[in-house]
């Protein structure tokens, strides 16, 4: 629905975008401030970036967070894909309502509740089976997979419903078995959704503070836990520098993902037209 955009709408759009971006831009500018006090300007400098790179604590947290995010994204994508296929392509099965409910619930569940319930579960497991002995990498990863697979499933579900079944039906008509249809037709066409699902799970994991704080033990710091413990006491110039780096990396990743999605969408429309034309 294109059409004329009234002046009021243009003004609101401008205010909205300013509201979104001014805080982030200021955060980036202040990261180049020489002064120890974030808000007192002391001239341009990259001093705080140096401080950041020399901090072993920061590197350890980055390492931990990246490891968790990588494992999480991979498992969450696999589980989310299986879940999405079950919900969209397999028709009715026993327990579908419960399954669908459990799949959407983590999206809207307050983080404090998810975190608390996972922590008490890990403690109960330890009491009965002696595992997990220490809370850290494994427990945080399991917790992250549980909530990020829901996001992946939603992304892939949307893609599965969006791409229609005409190509799959065409393959079946030509004699392909259901499993073959899945591996030769459905999966390749899902690739962009899998990539964006993977990226989504990756950033969700890198971003999570509350759930990780609940299920991590003493000494196991992820990056958000480290940042939070520092900024609770006020502004810190090294955190501004860290924030700038993180925001830059994320923005580049998202731009790449958006391009991939956009190109795939175009190619898809062509495929779809061909398949429908031959029917």
């Amino acid at each position: 629905m294109y059409g004329k955009r009234s002046k009021f709408l243009t003004v609101m759009l401008t205010i909205g975008m300013a509201f979104f971006y001014i805080p982030i831009i200021l955060l980036v500018i202040y990261s180049f401030n020489y002064s120890k006090l974030v808000l007192v300007w002391g001239g341009w400098s990259t001093r705080w970036y140096k401080v950041l790179f020399e901090s072993e604590e920061v590197w350890a947290a980055v390492n931990m967070s990246l490891k968790i995010a990588l494992v999480n994204a991979t498992f969450a994508t696999i589980l989310g894909m299986l879940a999405a296929l079950s919900m969209v392509r397999f028709g009715k099965f026993r327990g579908r309502t419960l399954f669908g409910g459990m799949l959407v619930a983590p999206l809207v569940m307050p983080e404090v509740i998810t975190g608390l319930s996972l922590l008490v579960m890990f403690i109960t497991l330890k009491q009965f089976f002696g595992w997990p002995e220490n809370r850290g990498f494994a427990t945080i990863t399991i917790a992250h997979i549980t909530f990020s697979m829901a996001y992946v499933a939603v992304t892939i579900q949307a893609r599965l419903t969006g791409m229609g079944q005409s190509l799959e039906e065409a393959a079946a008509d030509l004699g392909a078995k259901p499993f073959k249809v899945l591996t030769a037709i459905t999966m390749p066409r899902l690739t962009p959704a899998l990539i964006s699902g993977w990226l989504l799970a990756f950033t969700l994991s890198l971003d999570d503070l509350v759930i990780a704080s609940f299920v991590s033990g003493p000494g196991a710091n992820t990056l958000p836990i480290l940042i939070f413990s520092r900024i609770r006491l006020g502004l810190r110039p090294d955190i501004n520098a860290l924030a700038t780096i993180i925001i830059l990396v994320v923005a580049v990743c998202i731009a790449i993902a958006a391009l991939i999605m956009f190109r795939q969408q175009k190619r898809d429309m062509l495929d779809q037209q061909l398949a429908e034309g031959e029917k």
């Binding site: 294109y2 759009l13 404090v112 509740i113 697979m149 924030a243």
Partner: protein, 320 residues
């Protein structure tokens, strides 16, 4: 006799073999069940099961031990099983005005922030829908981008803006509007800003998706029949975008009411919200039974909005 036994055994082996065979064959035929079972079991184990444990602990008593609560089922002498259920924790929450007030305060803050987000988000979403083919994807990308960047860091960015020596106060003083800084950080105002800033994309995106499908000929028809733009908006556009309004509002309200980071960083100790109380109850006081009871009570508060949301989600999925 001997031969008979042998036959018997080989029969059994054969039977077992055929069971394995049948199992394998069924596996090949039912690869779909495996696809379903893997995520299903994962969610049962790590999503549903933990809730039962929380519900169980909420009915236990506090005990100085590890874990710090009494067990529900105990074996008395002679193998007699006793089950202890205590509702004290829920009574404690209900009778303590701190919890009730925090509850009401969370609902108030979350719903006010939802209304503000709607008033801001609606015209922004409408503006994007009405933009040209080049501006539209760029604007959409600009809304999605903050949604992907670290939530914690975006809240942190506002700490610098709202502080006493922060950008807003310095600007206002430089412009001569005020002489002394206004205290904005560590107030309810700051929490509102934080929630609206964080959750505005959640409002805009469902609204955009909904408006994008609208048929503009309806608006034109209304205009042709002499309806004024405001009238057309309230009689045609707004009713048609209600699904988007509801989805967006719930997506803001539900996470906002359980928020921990925003009231902690921007509200300081001055703004009490239930998510923060729960977190502190757990980490500081280690009163697990009461914390679990708070969690269960919080879930009850959110169960209706969540059901409404899922209902609309389901409808939207069918519509597609």
């Amino acid at each position: 006799m001997n031969i008979g036994m042998k036959n018997d055994i080989s029969m059994k082996v054969k039977n077992q073999n055929s069971i394995v065979d049948r199992f394998l064959r069924r596996l090949q035929e039912n690869w779909r069940s495996i696809v379903i079972i893997i995520p299903f079991v994962w969610l049962l184990m790590f999503f549903l099961f933990p809730f039962f444990i929380v519900a169980k602990i909420s009915l236990a008593e506090i005990k100085i031990a590890s874990p710090p609560f009494t067990s529900m089922v105990e074996w008395a002498d002679g193998g007699i099983m006793t089950i202890r259920i205590v509702f004290d924790n829920f009574l404690y929450i209900i009778n303590d005005s701190l919890y009730i007030n925090t509850y009401l305060n969370s609902v108030k803050i979350a719903s006010t922030a939802t209304v503000i987000s709607l008033l801001l988000g609606y015209p922004i979403a409408y503006g994007i829908v009405r933009s040209g083919p080049i501006a539209k994807p760029i604007l959409l990308f600009m809304v999605i981008l903050p949604f992907w960047t670290s939530f914690l860091l975006r809240v942190y960015a506002w700490m610098g803006l709202l502080a006493d020596q922060g950008t807003i106060n310095s600007l206002l003083i430089a412009l001569g509007f005020i002489n002394e800084p206004i205290q904005m950080l560590y107030s309810e105002f700051a929490v509102y800003i934080g929630i609206v800033y964080t959750y505005l994309p959640f409002m805009i995106l469902p609204l955009y998706a909904n408006m994008e499908k609208l048929d503009s000929s309806l608006n034109e028809a209304a205009a042709d029949l002499g309806s004024k733009p405001t009238n057309t908006f309230f009689k045609v556009t707004l009713p048609l975008t209600m699904p988007g309004v509801i989805a967006g509002s719930l997506l803001v309200f539900i996470p906002a009411s359980g928020e921990y980071v925003i009231p902690d960083l921007l509200g300081g100790g001055n703004v009490q919200m239930i998510g923060r109380v729960l977190f502190n109850e757990f980490s500081r006081n280690t009163d697990w039974p009461v914390a679990s009871a708070v969690a269960i009570a919080m879930l009850f508060l959110l169960v209706f909005p969540i059901i409404i949301f899922q209902h609309y989600q389901g409808k939207a999925a069918e519509g597609n």
